[in-house]
């Protein structure tokens, strides 16, 4: 709080404040700290309100928590294979990985172009705002809804899942890419333009090389997200893979032990991806300094 008040006292926008009143200001509540308190207050109020109004539907909360703990024990300490073998499970995870990979690649390729056209320093204001608004709407629709919308014309399955997930990945990556393109120093583009380079030369020679590390780390982050989304699409939209197995085990076979096995598969691959992501990130930091 104190740091904030000091900062805003000397802020260039309001230098006249010191001259306007002769009193020493004792008010510590500056705009940032007010907004911080207001946000926290509203969040707490909404949380309390939602707990009061939540429709418990006569679910026994404590009983449910106790049951969850017993279920966790069954899952994690007695996993078994009943509807598929170890290799079939691995194959299912590979399908999920494949879904994540394809959607990330497709999304990244489309997003690279749209990102270039929506970066303010590389494009005109109208096109940039148009694309940004368009992808904001794409991102606002949850992935599962995109998949289900495409499923009407393409049929439930991997095709609809891939197109739907690509849509959302693209929306996400366009934002990330264009923001990293915009970080490029204005002088570089100006200098190249002055020396007679055309738009494509500027992009290929200056923009992409200088933001490549950002692009890689954002893309891999999206790959990580897409793996999780692919599991969800398997469960909710019949896209196949480990998510579908999990949905079957949970909703049809009621087989907790098998869910334990599937959870181990998911955990192993997700943690592997996270380790790679952390490594890429630390390389990124190392190359920057």
């Amino acid at each position: 709080m104190e740091a904030n008040s000091v900062k805003s006292d000397v802020s260039p926008e309001k230098p006249y404040r010191h001259y306007k009143s002769n009193k020493i200001r004792v008010k510590r509540l500056t705009k940032p700290s007010l907004i911080v308190r207001l946000t926290l207050g509203i969040l707490i109020l909404l949380t309390v309100y939602s707990f009061i109004t939540i429709d418990y539907e006569s679910v026994d909360l404590l009983g449910g928590i106790a049951a969850t703990i017993t279920n966790f024990k069954t899952m994690f300490f007695a996993p078994h294979f009943s509807n598929f073998t170890f290799l079939q499970g691995l194959y299912a995870v590979m399908i999920t990985m494949g879904l994540a990979l394809l959607t990330t690649v497709f999304g990244a390729v489309i997003a690279l172009f749209l990102g270039l056209w929506s970066a303010e320093n590389l494009s005109s204001g109208r096109i940039s705002n148009g694309i940004k608004g368009f992808v904001a709407i794409i991102r606002a629709v949850p992935t599962v809804l995109w998949v289900l919308i495409f499923a009407v014309s393409a049929g439930l399955g991997s095709v609809a899942a891939i197109i739907g997930m690509t849509f959302h990945s693209m929306g996400y990556l366009v934002k990330a890419y264009s923001e990293s393109f915009e970080e490029l120093d204005k002088g570089v583009i100006e200098a190249l333009r002055a020396s007679g380079a055309n738009w494509w030369q500027i992009v290929v020679q200056a923009v992409i090389p200088s933001s490549l590390t950002y692009l890689v780390s954002w893309t891999f982050l999206r790959f990580e997200i897409n793996f999780a989304v692919a599991i969800a699409m398997g469960a909710a939209a019949g896209a196949g893979g480990i998510g579908y197995d999990m949905f079957m085990a949970s909703s049809y076979y009621y087989d907790l032990n098998e869910i334990g096995t599937i959870t181990y598969y998911i955990l192993a691959f997700a943690i592997l991806l996270e380790i790679i992501a952390t490594r890429i990130k630390s390389n990124l930091h190392a190359s920057q300094t």
Binding site: L43, I54, T68, L101, T143, S158, A160, I231, A235, A270
Partner: protein, 245 residues
């Protein structure tokens, strides 16, 4: 590059994805969308019910994020390199966060269906677990970044551990933590739709219901309300971020 194409091609075979069929389905999907996927007059009659469900979903998402943030704050103080009490607690809290974060929200929903059945609580706890894991990781990074210099300085003046945490570390990292919480709420509203489809609650269930009844006009209205609410929320949280950061 060649390797990349090979891997992508392999993934296509694995997932049985037909590229031609996939890309030709986009125009037909757009065509179908224009002719069917718009709110018609009869769907507006269901608007109050939809808004009611939407409110329930948003409130669940916010409650899950806020409560998860409280837990994450404790775990991140124990987990951060700078503010940790000892190594064992640090490794334990990081491990718990990794476990909760890496199991996907859909997987949590399917697991929790066993104990809570088809109720709002299933979705709530699924969102809570993932948010908790994610926020703990984010908060640890914030603490590592913000705390470094001030902790050392305050230790030199002889301040006690609780004083350092409460008076310096947490106040100076609050703005960034709030930014993460707002981000989490945005993610959670999207995930809540998915969880709703799986557990039969909230706005996800409304969409699923109209979708499966082939009432696409009303389903599109549901999508529209979700889009509007997420855009409003994004605008609000961007405003808050601009002011506090």
């Amino acid at each position: 590059m060649l390797l990349f194409c090979a891997v992508s091609y392999g993934a296509m075979i694995f997932t049985q994805f037909n590229a031609v069929k996939g890309f030709t389905s986009i125009p037909s999907a757009i065509q179908w969308g224009i002719s069917n996927f718009y709110p018609a007059a009869h769907s507006f009659e269901k608007l109050p019910a939809i808004l009611n469900k939407l409110l329930e979903t948003i409130l669940t998402a916010i409650a899950a994020s806020t409560i998860a943030a409280v837990f994450a704050l404790f775990f991140s103080v124990f987990g951060s390199k700078i503010t940790k009490v000892n190594n064992i607690l640090s490794i334990m809290s990081r491990g718990v966060a990794t476990l909760f974060r890496n199991i996907d929200v859909a997987a949590w929903a399917l697991i929790l269906l066993f104990s809570f059945g088809q109720s709002v609580l299933t979705g709530y706890f699924a969102l809570f677990f993932v948010s908790f894991g994610f926020l703990t990781r984010a908060f640890i990074e914030v603490l590592d970044e913000v705390g470094e210099s001030s902790v050392e300085a305050l230790k030199a003046t002889g301040a006690s551990y609780p004083m350092i945490i409460l008076k310096s570390v947490i106040p100076s990292s609050t703005p960034q933590m709030i930014s993460w919480i707002l981000f989490m709420i945005e993610i959670n509203i999207r995930s809540a739709t998915l969880v709703g489809i799986l557990t039969g609650t909230g706005i996800g269930f409304s969409f699923d219901l109209y979708y499966k009844n082939l009432d696409y006009n009303t389903a599109s209205l549901v999508v529209l309300t979700i889009v509007v609410s997420i855009l409003i929320l994004e605008y609000l949280s961007n405003y808050v971020r601009r002011v506090i950061l």
